[in-house]
Symmetry: C2
Amino acid sequence: LSEGGIVGELPGEFALIARHFRPLAGPEALGLGDDAAVMTAPAGRQLVIAADAMVAGVHFLPDDPADLVARKLLRTNLSDLAAMGATPLGYLMTISVPLDTPDGWFANFAAGLAVDQAVFGLSLLGGDTTSTPGPISLSLTILGTVAPGTALRRSGARAGDGIWVSGSIGDGALGLLAAKGELADADGYLAGRYRVPQPRLALGQRLHGIARAAMDVSDGLVQDLGHLCRAGGLSAEIEAGAVPLSPQARVAGMLPLCLTGGDDYELLFAVPSAREAALRDAAAQAGIPVTRIGHFHAGPPVVVVRATDGSEMTVGSGGWSHFR
Amino acid sequence: LSEGGIVGELPGEFALIARHFRPLAGPEALGLGDDAAVMTAPAGRQLVIAADAMVAGVHFLPDDPADLVARKLLRTNLSDLAAMGATPLGYLMTISVPLDTPDGWFANFAAGLAVDQAVFGLSLLGGDTTSTPGPISLSLTILGTVAPGTALRRSGARAGDGIWVSGSIGDGALGLLAAKGELADADGYLAGRYRVPQPRLALGQRLHGIARAAMDVSDGLVQDLGHLCRAGGLSAEIEAGAVPLSPQARVAGMLPLCLTGGDDYELLFAVPSAREAALRDAAAQAGIPVTRIGHFHAGPPVVVVRATDGSEMTVGSGGWSHFR
């Protein structure tokens, strides 16, 4: 427009944000055009905030469709809200991708977010888009709310409490094998469970006053149950035969992997027997099956897995940890 | 502890978090042992939230000391709060690092965060630590607060308003050259400005009622001024000779780079002439120098840079964008 001046054209990064991400933004995001979002926290609620990262080749397969990657990123974070009994409010996201990432990747990525924003009722508040010389690296911070004092915690289980899980266990780990072509998955169910987990928000929101402790199963049932044990100062004993498996997981017949593999995103929680009727009501209202798989006991923070014949199964130290 | 059972030992990832990051956590973080943080938003304040990512080799040098990397990560986000006039509250962080990252790296990284948590008065609320097969990828989400309705915005400048900057411009871009050994930097000042930016919180917090529009300069003065122009529907004209340079930048004599390079993290804002006395008072209280470098005018969103002789300088389309 002016010789020697700077034409008022958006550089690529900003055009990209305007094209793909601005349509996802809530009013608090100020059109993603300011340095930060400004919001008034809902009156009479506490904020619940969590952040999770996902890296290509670690948390998803490099050739996974971008819309499913986006939905997994959002859903793993929503699962943290579910574990706290919270209601989603919004999220911020940072995306680091190679410079040659095609525009279609961003379009698909944003389309996946749009689907799940509608499903779960939240909007984009802000974030950052940068280049990386390495694999795609994603980070999402999620905000939710709870009524004051009602957030579910990992601590609080007591000896005698039942150990419960939602849904089915092991599909995520089997689904990773299936997605890599290492396990038959005729109907695509297992790969789907790996790629698009199901955050159990409707159940988590009904567990206040019922569950004494809760968390989501992201690193493997046995390892995550160990966290509840340490947080509560208790032992846990579960019956392998009671752990709910999907029909597809039963066919696969890899029980030890189901018990220790990651990516389930089911809820794991402690319920005293006197509240089991209330739990069944809550689960029915949420439309999410729940299963008692064992009990907590007084003792050191140890997870014992019993086979059908009553013997102790050796399932390894189990579970996913990035740094050993 | 129990044959065949799972010993209650923390896997490496969790031990690492407990060792290095739990000491940084505020009470809302619940010891970093739950799925999310729970906090009550400060009464009578609005929340201000932003997120920025940093990738080794893009935003910092792969061999930069970990404590300085951590401080830059925190400070670039604090600069976003400064640009909104907000007061820091807390942050969440995700860290993706190679599996062979030594424990000392985490110790140094956490030590850097501890220093700046004390300087800026905020604490760690949560996050995630994962492995990556690629370069270190960091993401930080920062929370701050403002009195309702007082957040500074990029829109709002009017024709005739002065264009102001804090501190000095160009040190960040020169500092990157210095840090790479491509520019003399006898006293280390320039590299220090690149590695440890100075978020101008004390100034930003005093600009409500004084600045009509504000942002921080992170992608280069000329490009970022273009954002204020687009947000306000205005042209901008600045005098190159009025742009404040540090003595070290004057010696370097690379004015075009100073005007277009990134990583300044100074504030850029619009002030009507009637409020200049109030601005000087605010700047004196904050202990941060401010300089008028030009004016906004009615017209298309163009940034004109005038040389000392009044001619238009050609400074290129300028500024850092990840995707063109």
